[in-house]
Symmetry: C2
């Protein structure tokens, strides 16, 4: 029972208290009917389903009923009765209706008719009131909760890595600068440069692109940690796959070799998708019907099949022997493009694929070097429709080998002293990976544009709301 004696519509629809008086509160999706009886579809966001409120017109004030239009917010007290025609098992026979807030039919943007996803992005403050975004946001919640539950159940500790960072050591992408300096008239040093000693942190700072390096510090003390926080890329990429601000999950585990890392990633993804199937089926069915008719089938397929595990070198052989005409070239040493990844997953293996042992030149400095001197213990998990959903690796735990790469790549050692300390003092084999939360949601919801799986997307020229 909610405050004010309210029952959530999700609970009302499951209730077997037919005949009893109940209270519902929510927003009008539609009103239809005739001069004798009106039918109001009421939704409160607890479920994609509406409760039908049946109104005997003669029992209510005409002016009140006129104000009940799409978008209005109501309190309804009434009797729960068995339903014949509403599509649900029960409906409400209204006794009292109170209007909390009206929604002028001439100006309220979310009228009954369908709206394009592009238009709904412009009213991101209202789109959670639609079936589509209600479903997406409920699934988003369920996936976030499933992630925390998965790691908590296994003894991982949630580590909050910093958002504002003083170093760009990971080099994962272009960064946003964070400052309190007056841009119109910044303090300058004698030689005319910006005087960052006067900035808030006494030096130049940026928004984080990854919590991994700090995550490793946690793993080297607590054994198994994970991060789940916002990360940022200042890249001018206006694509359906890129956001300037997105959420990332990065587990990091001491004593895990690359195979353990792969096992965890596969089990983790399957667990999350199974959680969605177990807990979000009504929302998935809606999305399956409206956006992607293979969605549920695809989710079930992923949880019930082993992922293929394949070295990069063999993947290159497969792609070169395929005879398929790709837009981007395929040859050993080049990074794989989305088209190559999707060919392997969707055409060749017809299964998720974990690619391993990439050439060291196309991967980050911290990945564990293989004895061949050419490849590193990287692993990318490739999914149908999405391409890369997880990227990870075993980490180089050997101080000298790590230093060699840092020197080769001319990474400033002054930014790395604390990271290097983990290899100086009690180093251990360890591994980890990163999962882009919105990439996961694209897969689980079947939506096609990443702007539609986050409440308030940030992209070039867009930071509204």
């Amino acid at each position: 029972m909610q405050p004010g004696g309210r029952l959530k519509i999700k609970d009302l629809l499951r209730s077997n208290s037919v005949g009893s008086e109940v209270t519902a509160k929510g927003w009008v999706r539609t009103k239809r009917g005739n001069k004798n009886v009106a039918f109001i579809a009421l939704n409160d966001g607890s479920t994609i389903n509406n409760i039908q409120v049946v109104v005997e017109v003669s029992n209510f004030n005409e002016e009140l009923l006129k104000q009940i239009t799409t978008g209005a917010c109501l309190k309804v007290v009434g009797t729960l009765v068995e339903s014949v025609g509403s599509g649900q098992s029960v409906e409400m026979l209204a006794k009292e209706i109170e209007i909390y807030g009206t929604a002028d039919a001439n100006t309220y943007p979310l009228q009954k008719k369908g709206h394009s996803l592009e238009f709904l992005r412009e009213i991101a403050h209202l789109r959670p009131r639609t079936n589509t975004f209600g479903a997406v946001l409920r699934i988003r919640h369920a996936m976030a909760y499933a992630i925390h539950k998965y790691f908590n159940d296994r003894g991982f500790f949630y580590l909050h890595t910093p958002i504002i960072t003083g170093s760009d050591a990971e080099g994962a992408g272009a960064m946003f600068q964070v400052t309190t300096l007056d841009l119109n008239n910044p303090p300058r040093t004698e030689d005319g440069k910006i005087d960052y000693t006067q900035d808030f942190f006494g030096k130049s700072t940026n928004l984080t692109v990854s919590g991994q390096l700090e995550g490793e510090l946690g793993a080297m003390a607590l054994s198994e940690i994970y991060t789940f926080g916002p990360t940022f890329r200042a890249e001018n990429s206006n694509t359906p796959r890129h956001l300037a601000e997105f959420w990332m999950i990065e587990p990091e585990m001491a004593f895990y070799e690359i195979v353990d890392n792969m096992n965890l990633a596969e089990d983790f993804l399957k667990n999350l998708i199974q959680y969605a199937l177990d807990n979000c089926m009504e929302d998935l069915e809606f999305l399956n019907k409206m956006y992607d008719e293979e969605l549920i089938e695809r989710l079930k397929f992923v949880v019930s099949n082993d992922f293929v595990r394949l070295p990069y070198t063999e993947a290159i052989d497969i792609l070169m022997a395929s005879g398929h005409k790709f837009e981007f070239p395929v040859s050993w040493g080049l990074d794989l493009q989305s088209e190559h990844e999707r060919y392997l997953v969707e055409k060749h293996f017809m299964k998720p694929v974990i690619l391993t042992d990439y050439p060291k030149e196309i991967k980050a400095f911290y990945m564990k070097q293989n004895p061949d001197g050419k490849t590193v213990r990287a692993m990318d998990v490739l999914f149908p429709k999405i391409g890369e959903i997880i990227g990870g690796s075993q980490r180089e735990e050997n101080y000298e080998k790590l230093m060699d790469r840092i020197t080769e790549l001319e990474i400033p050692e002054k930014d790395m002293w604390w990271y290097l300390d983990t290899r100086r003092f009690g180093t251990a084999p360890h591994s980890g990976f990163g999962l882009g939360f919105e990439r996961l949601l694209l897969f689980v919801t079947g939506m096609g544009n990443i702007r539609d799986v986050i409440p308030f997307p940030r992209t070039p020229n867009t930071a509204e709301f």
Copy 2:
């Protein structure tokens, strides 16, 4: 069972498989002994307790044993045996020892002796390896998980509100600017001002100070939501209670009046503290012994007593009649200082207090106005030792009343159109509050400085790691 057949030390210490061969991996806390037998205390972060590894010196290479010093990382295979002297019920009789990483005794900063919290802040990359920070970080994890579980169990949806924001509507504090402009030579408009149309988002942007306003958008569609994310204040406050980057939890609920909001806040806090008592007792006992000998007593007291609920006006009367000499003045219309809050909680009522109905002038524009024309339906939850731990209110749902305050306070309407839309279209009574996560952790851990309850604190002139 962990990868490589490892058992976590937490599980080893609870195991009743005495006599069987087990594998432990972790970091050496101490080594002591004599020429015949060595005792190694090994910790892997899964628990504050160490497992004692007993080493028959004659069975091992002398050089290997020499390298086992505080901070070294080991794999130990051995027999689990009943313990007589280690303080735990079981210990390990070592058969094989592998050193993953040494820790040079001359340079490793975390030697056996105690270290000041100030010193440990300078090596925040290593401090999770200490008893104190292991305990704090495990409790931090447990509290984060308890928060997600609490809301998930009650049908709240986790909403990710934006970190980068284009408006400073809430006015909660000084903001950090986020930019990709070249500070050395920023583009300028014809009249010499910074040309923000050329910035990444096409306008000036900042880091969020609160997700509340966007949270309200979610509540007006999904009924009950909560945020849990980083928030920022660019205030030059070098105190034990302030961070520039901290985490906040902000639930927002449609159809909640102020009393429902108070009920939720009280139940929520008690639930979290009970979760800590149920799940973190070993860590709490350590902190109770080392830092705050009233800690556990205080936690138990809070969960087992009703919070006092009191209007601000009555609180002022109590403070003025108290005869107590305060540093800051007390009179109706002035905000309460920490000393006043703590007097009410610690001296007068000896219980947590929820203060309500503050003068509107000292509270935010969005709080619901009382009929008296002077006060608003604010509520602050005051805790012993901490002062304000939660601040919240019922929100003004009436469009005209809200607009009046916005006009009075000269808040730019152009930044607020989307917020105002919630009052234009289907408005409803609603309420919410904010809990500073690190404030909660100060209370639950008994630590005295907020820099010691977050892994990597950001404060003026400090953004290391």
